[in-house]
């Protein structure tokens, strides 16, 4: 099927997620969609598969305008989407899951379905038992099940959103072989990824998105350097960096291994010194969030130890970490950091040490006014927290921090913020550093990582680099590491050690 996307635009509140994207994908080909987090890949695919309506723009299938207003419309047009987290039903048997979404009758034809299931599995060499339960499968096997289901309900177009995250290497090879054979049979495949290696290996053509725009396309043979350049942009600004004096060790991470739902991290070692800033770089879901959470006592390590100021904190709760002067600021500000429905002033009261039984309203108001002024928050003590803009919510999180702190852990400190807020937030964080507080932060903005970190840990698919001095990195070299290239050096280093 020939796909044409014409001038697709979509705005969420103030964020231009897609602006005027046009793309033609010929039948029987694999089209890569490359871009960093927040580049607009997912939005574009959600529009194409009917989950989101565009503000403007048209979708043409085989030259005809297609009306796609819901996922059901997309399925009727033969567009099948394989989500990053497969949309399957864990408490069902594979065969029942397979039957879902198939039209026809009150009583499903289980026997016919079982036959089709076996034929499809055989064709692609998938080893799946139709009577097993979905929740017993690995992520890779769940993908295989979804691909079979999408083919059986008659998809001509397959969209895969970051399909290689969380699956094993053999499963990845099998997936790629399947996709190549499907494409040669006439299927059109859209492959969304931020992994350079995968895209370079698999795709007949690549479209690169950045900040909601289509910034370029490429055909094989690919030049990795060009792809990285287009993905991250070229504007690189290095402000002068003050050398931080090596202080005492605040946090030491010794051989820590962690397990998340889809990712496993092995043997992380780092000593964070007082006043130091550590940047955690990597594509979203590469393990940095779990690691940061573990530094705050939110996740327990499988093995290894966390020490704060020489005190072993392994296995202690977040509130114990908090008492030792650790603060954790989540990226999902309204979902995890703040309490919608409560006012600014109520937040300040909650963040303070409790004094007495009754709330001293007058003191609370005074405190709120002081902090609101000190952190330049645009809001009133009594306004509900959800009425603040993203930048002001982030300022609010900073304003809620107690003193003194030894370590601040921040997820995406400036995501979605304008320049003014970004500069302001970092100014406040740096103020804390000057007072001896260490900062560990996650960012998908390479410039931010290079600009503010003293040292950097790079995460890729659960692998963690040794700490690298920020001045030894450039946007290009960091971009390559994030995309999974150039890791051999570390491994050689590990083998030597």
């Amino acid at each position: 099927m020939l796909i044409e996307l014409r001038n697709i635009s979509k705005t969420f509140d103030t964020v231009q997620a897609n602006s005027g994207i046009s793309l033609v994908v010929p039948p029987a080909s694999i089209q890569g969609i490359l871009g960093e987090n927040g580049a607009g890949k997912s939005t574009l695919m959600k529009i194409f598969s009917g989950f989101t309506l565009p503000d403007s723009g048209d979708i043409l299938l085989d030259g005809e305008r297609a009306v796609i207003h819901s996922p059901a419309d997309a399925i009727r047009h033969g567009i099948g989407m394989l989500h990053q987290d497969p949309l399957d039903f864990p408490p069902m048997r594979l065969l029942d899951d397979f039957l879902l979404g198939r039209e026809g009758g009150l009583f499903p034809d289980r026997r016919g379905a079982a036959r089709a299931f076996r034929e499809l599995a055989e064709r692609f060499g998938f080893v799946l038992d139709p009577e097993a339960w979905v929740d017993s499968l690995t992520v890779g096997e769940r993908q295989q099940l979804e691909i079979m289901r999408l083919l059986w309900i008659g998809s001509h177009v397959l969209i895969l959103d970051e399909p290689t995250t969380g699956i094993s290497l053999p499963q990845k090879e099998k997936l790629f072989a399947t996709l190549k054979s499907l494409a040669s049979d006439g299927m059109t495949i859209l492959f969304v990824s931020h992994k350079l290696e995968d895209v370079e290996f698999l795709c007949d053509s690549v479209a690169i998105l950045r900040q909601g725009r289509l910034v370029g396309t490429a055909k094989p043979p690919y030049l990795t350097k060009d792809l990285v350049g287009m993905m991250f942009g070229r504007e690189i600004a290095f402000p002068e960096r003050k050398k931080s004096p090596p202080g005492a060790s605040v946090l030491s991470v010794n051989g820590v291994s962690l397990e998340g739902a889809r990712i496993r991290i092995r043997g992380v070692n780092i000593q964070v010194r007082a006043g130091e800033v550590i940047g955690l770089a990597g594509m979203e879901g590469s393990g940095q969030s779990i690691f940061l959470g573990a530094c705050a006592g939110l996740t327990r390590p499988v093995s290894g130890a966390f020490c704060l100021d020489e005190r072993d904190m392994t296995g202690r709760s977040h509130h114990d970490f908090k008492r030792e002067g650790v603060a954790y600021l989540p990226a999902a500000r309204l979902e995890r950091g703040l309490v919608p429905g409560l006012s600014l002033s109520e937040h300040f009261v909650l963040s303070e040490k409790k004094k007495g039984f009754f709330i001293d309203r007058r003191r609370a108001k005074k405190l709120s006014q002081d902090r609101i002024a000190a952190y330049n928050i645009k809001g009133e003590p009594d306004s509900p927290i959800e009425s603040l803009s993203g930048g002001n919510q982030q300022r609010m999180l900073l304003a809620l921090l107690r003193d003194p702190l030894s370590l601040v852990l921040v997820e995406h400190p400036t995501r979605g913020l304008d320049i003014e807020s970004t500069v302001y937030i970092w100014g406040k964080l740096k103020e804390r550093c000057a007072g001896g507080t260490s900062i560990v932060f996650i960012s998908s903005d390479l410039d931010e990582i290079l600009q503010y970190s003293d040292r950097v840990l790079v995460f890729f698919a659960g692998r963690v680099s040794p700490p690298i001095k920020a001045e030894e990195l450039s946007v290009e070299s960091l971009g390559l590491l994030i995309g999974g290239k150039g890791w051999e050096d570390f491994e050689r280093g590990e083998a030597d050690a």
Partner: protein
């Protein structure tokens, strides 16, 4: 369209009007004169001091249940097990009475002890549901519902087993306590006791102050609205959930104990009389604001008591009160949903 106070009131009144209209349709459909029915309910509740005192008798346990539930709703939990907590309050109060009566203890002291025992029974039963939720991963709605059945069964077993009347066990309950152990009432005929009114009023005032003016209440709100953020802000979330359950259980237990010591003077099979569920409706209807709980609970109690004489006067079933209460809650909630829908739509364009 802004989500103003006026808009809110408009939709709330709209919901009430719809509920009345639907009930009227039900009345007309069953060939009953609607105005006569409403008038009868009003007269049945407010027509004389005698009937009004019955309204107050019913208001006390309803208000106590609502007060407790306001706390559990604030922390974001559905304490549907409140019926069982009322029953256990009644059982513990009866147990205290039975153990102490005839032992020469000062009657006033016995009554006080048995009311406290009732509160303790409610606390224990509520903590059980809370512990199942916190440590067993059992949703508090399912756990509470199961525990309600268990409480009813225990109650029946006591009435027909160990605590049965000499000779024949009967649905009319256990042997009444000595008259000296009845909670003093206004007059000899009345079942209204000033001290139970005082307990209920003190309860709702306490809850109002807790929720609106204390650190405890603010923390409950924070846990109820966003437990993950509350945890990161340093609030021990499950401890607060358990505490709110315990306090709600104490309120429920008090309600049960008052039914035993002031109203029935014995343990009867359906001792909770549905006040727990009715309390949930009141809490939802007032949108979890403590300030409105007392008048709305009084209105619900008036509907209950006022409809008692419908069968006699109009040959209508007294369940009309339930129809009106149910539709009120449904339509007011529906109106809330509609208001939010329009507010969202208005905000977008």
């Amino acid at each position: 369209m802004r989500d103003s106070r006026g808009m809110r009131a408009f939709f709330q009144v709209g919901g009430i009007v719809f509920a009345l209209a639907l009930t009227t349709v039900v009345l007309v459909a069953s060939k009953a004169p609607p105005f006569a029915a409403y008038l009868n309910i009003a007269l049945g509740a407010f027509g004389s001091w005698e009937v009004f005192s019955n309204v107050l008798v019913s208001w006390v346990p309803l208000l106590l249940a609502t007060s407790g539930l306001l706390l559990t709703f604030t922390v974001g939990l559905w304490n549907i097990g409140i019926e069982g907590q009322i029953t256990f309050g009644a059982i513990f109060a009866t147990w205290a009475m039975r153990s102490l009566q005839g032992g020469g203890t000062d009657p006033a002291f016995v009554i006080m002890l048995s009311i406290l025992a009732g509160a303790l029974g409610g606390i224990l039963w509520a903590m059980l549901a809370g512990a199942l939720k916190t440590f067993g991963g059992v949703n508090e709605i399912f756990g509470g519902l199961g525990l309600n059945f268990v409480a009813t069964a225990v109650n029946l077993w006591l009435i027909f087993g160990p605590w049965k009347r000499p000779g024949i066990a009967s649905m009319s309950g256990t042997v009444p306590f000595d008259k000296a152990l009845w909670l003093p009432t206004l007059t000899a005929q009345s079942r209204l006791s000033p001290s139970s009114i005082a307990i209920a009023v003190a309860g709702i005032v306490l809850v109002y102050v807790l929720i609106s003016g204390t650190h405890f209440g603010l923390r409950l709100k924070a846990v109820g609205r966003n437990p993950r953020a509350a945890y990161l802000l340093g609030i021990p979330t499950w401890q607060y959930m358990m505490t709110s359950f315990a306090i709600c259980g104490a309120f429920a237990g008090l309600a049960g104990a008052i039914q035993v010591t002031a109203v029935y003077h014995r343990l009867i099979p359906s001792i909770s009389s549905g006040y727990g569920y009715l309390g949930m409706m009141v809490a939802m209807l007032v949108n979890y604001r403590a300030a409105l709980a007392a008048p709305v609970a009084l209105f619900f109690a008036a509907l209950n008591v006022g409809s008692i004489q419908l069968p006699i006067v109009l040959k209508l079933d007294s369940s009309l009160a339930g129809v009106l209460q149910g539709t009120l809650v449904l339509f007011v909630l529906l109106a809330q949903g509609a208001r939010e829908f329009f507010a969202r739509k208005g905000g977008k364009r």
